[in-house]
């Protein structure tokens, strides 16, 4: 998975967030940086939308009703049509170990709330590169 960060404007992003204010904030931020955005209220909603829409990236809350972020991440991995789409967790669970738990559960990055609008793209990129750095040593180890 390689993302062209300079072309963030051309990206399409699915925001999965149950809390309306936070959803509006994240959607607004992504729109501010010029990307196309769709939003889903929970995991099940997201799976429905993804049947007709293939985004560049998914930003998902972890605790949501009906289907939470963890289950959604697993479902997406199981489906070959969605397995390749990177999913970054956005959570207010700022306790130690939450990030590690999310990264080892297959999320491609972890952002903690509150998100910073001014540094949003930079933070997002850093979060994904951190996860990528975790994978790389294992890959070299295998070869």
């Amino acid at each position: 998975m390689t993302l062209d960060w300079d072309a963030f404007k051309t990206w399409s992003i699915l925001v999965v967030e149950d809390e309306p204010d936070n959803a509006e904030l994240i959607v607004g931020t992504v729109q501010f940086y010029g990307a196309t955005v769709k939003s889903a209220e929970h995991g099940a909603d997201a799976l429905e939308i993804l049947k007709e829409f293939t985004p560049t990236l998914i930003l998902a809350d972890l605790s949501m009703p009906k289907m939470d972020g963890w289950i959604m991440r697993a479902r997406l991995k199981d489906d070959p049509r969605t397995a390749h789409i990177p999913v970054v967790a956005i959570s207010a669970h700022a306790m130690e170990g939450d990030k590690e738990k999310a990264l080892s559960a297959g999320f491609d990055g972890y952002l903690s709330k509150p998100i910073n609008i001014i540094s949003f793209v930079r933070d997002l990129r850093a979060a994904m590169e951190e996860k990528a750095a975790l994978i790389r040593p294992q890959e070299t180890g295998r070869s």
């Binding site: 204010d21 936070n22 700022a94 609008i117």
Partner: protein, 521 residues
């Protein structure tokens, strides 16, 4: 070491040995004394017999001796031979010559040479007794009127004496043997009666030492009165001797120990329960704080996010007054977030739930990020920001970069907060000989009075009270920073001069990447 060292012998052996020695000594003394006595009695009897014999010979030999009638004299001595105790009789003339000898097998040839013994007898005024190896020789002068006309002597066998003494000696030896054996047995019994309870006490002590309190009562010897005296009112009468007293004292001690042990155990259990409760309370508090902070962050996220959007003019430009108000909204929201984060950090530190994520990082990249933020902080108050990186600072270190950054940022924002004019300086360097590296933040601010230098690291403290109005903040920052520094094996120290400025130094252990990853080279 030396097995012959009597001091190392068991008590029973010592006791037995000493009793045996005493008994042997006593028996030997008694035997010797009785032997002595027997011999003395026998000797005086023998002397009496010799005396009788001599008196008889004197009576019958005076005339023949006077006439020097050797034949008659010979008859006299030969007649003596009838007694088996009498070994011989002898008669000497006035010159000491032997004139009659009962032991002579042939006719006595007249002796010309005087016998020295005969001469001695003739010259003697008293009876002479000589104890020879197997006989008693007794002799005396024969006096007629005033004239010494000769001497007579008899020899009596001491063989009966010897056999009698031998008998006495043998009897004594037998008695001694029996007495010694009896003595040894007595000694063994006695020593056992002392050492057995002592051994039992020793064993019971060992069991008690091993923590077995229940075994105490089963020690037979320790049951008072078991071996001494009849039961008293259905209860065992306590032994009155020293061992019995020792046993009772021991039992009392064991009871006391058991009571104390039980008390201690109860106390420990109470403490354990209290401790568990305290830990549970701390855990609940920590979880509560974590949950509360989560619930606080979510709306704050929205407040800060929409403030930022409005400030960025996403939905249209704000006029100056609107912009100012939203800015205040944003800034106060940010302060609230810092406060929440501080409380969360502190509760984690208190609950010891902080785990350090130690990874290799580049201290110069960290310094760059800190400089960017410090420049902003300094610019807000028209302060100068200076940065120095010592060339000896390694390019890669191992540690929890996020926490280090948090500490440094805290010090930098404090420096900016308490400085009105002048500058803020960030210095970084290493002390290889101390295996440490330092982050030093210096300002030209208000400074800290000497009495407050320690207080500033305490929670909810600022120098002029808690929390102050003059300077915003919770007063948690330094406490958290120092807690984190110490958690990493380092510390934070402060030097300050009032109205001149302060210098905070963070010292952290220097862990080089090469040291941790030797196979990487």
């Amino acid at each position: 070491m030396n097995r012959l060292d009597i001091r190392r012998w068991p008590l029973a052996a010592k006791f037995t040995l000493s009793i045996t020695l005493m008994v042997t000594l006593a028996v030997a003394t008694v035997t010797l004394l009785s032997l002595q006595r027997e011999r003395d009695t026998f000797r005086s009897e023998l002397r009496q017999q010799a005396q009788l014999a001599l008196e008889l010979i004197e009576e019958v030999s005076a005339n023949p001796l006077y006439r020097l009638d050797a034949d008659t004299l010979q008859e006299v001595v030969e007649e003596l031979d009838e007694s088996d105790m009498l070994l011989g009789g002898y008669i000497y003339d006035a010159d000491g010559r032997l004139v009659a000898d009962s032991t002579a097998t042939q006719e006595l040839v007249f002796q010309i040479d005087p016998d020295p013994y005969g001469q001695r007898l003739v010259a003697s005024d008293e009876r002479e007794y000589d104890w020879l190896p197997d006989r008693l020789r007794a002799g005396q002068a024969v006096v007629l009127g005033r004239q010494r006309i000769g001497a007579i002597a008899v020899e009596l066998s001491t063989a009966p004496l010897d056999s009698k003494i031998a008998d006495v000696r043998n009897e004594g030896l037998e008695a001694a043997a029996i007495t010694i054996i009896a003595g040894i047995m007595l000694a063994l019994l006695l020593s056992r009666s002392i050492t057995t309870p002592i051994k039992e006490l020793a064993r019971a002590t060992e069991r008690i030492a091993a923590g077995d309190m229940t075994q105490k009562a089963t020690v037979a010897m320790l049951r008072p009165g078991l071996r001494s005296g009849p039961a008293l009112n259905g209860k065992a009468a306590p032994s009155t001797n020293e061992i019995g007293q020792l046993a009772m004292a021991f039992n009392e001690m064991a009871d006391a120990i058991q009571k104390r042990e039980t008390a201690l155990r109860e106390q420990a259990e109470t403490l354990r329960v209290a401790n568990a409760r305290a830990e549970e309370a701390a855990r609940i508090k920590s979880e509560f704080l974590a949950n509360v902070s989560h619930e606080l962050r979510t709306p704050l996220n929205v407040i800060l996010g929409f403030s930022d959007m409005m400030l960025l003019g996403i939905d249209g430009a704000l006029n100056e007054k609107q912009h100012h108000k939203v800015e205040r909204l944003r800034e106060n929201g940010a302060r609230l977030l810092v406060l929440i984060n501080d409380i969360l950090d502190l509760s984690r530190l208190e609950a010891k739930r902080v785990e350090l994520v130690n990874k290799p990082f580049a201290p110069r990249a960290l310094a760059d990020r800190l400089a960017t933020q410090a420049t902003v902080l300094a610019a807000q108050k028209q302060l100068e920001f200076k940065q120095t990186i010592a060339p000896d600072l390694p390019t890669t270190l191992i540690g929890d970069e996020k926490r280090v950054e948090q500490i440094a940022l805290n010090l930098l924002s404090n420096a900016a907060k308490f400085t009105e004019t002048g500058s803020i300086t960030l210095e970084m360097g290493a002390k290889a000989d101390d295996h440490s590296w330092q982050i030093r933040v210096t300002d030209t601010g208000v400074g800290i009075p000497p009495h407050a230098l320690d207080l500033i690291f305490e929670e909810f403290r600022q120098v002029d009270g808690s929390p102050t109005r003059a300077y915003m903040g919770t007063g948690l920052g330094l406490a958290i920073a120092r807690n984190f520094a110490r958690l990493m094996g380092g510390n934070i120290t402060v030097e300050s001069e009032l109205h001149a400025g302060s210098a905070f130094t963070v010292t952290l252990p220097l862990v080089l990447e090469e040291a941790k990853l030797p196979e990487a080279t």
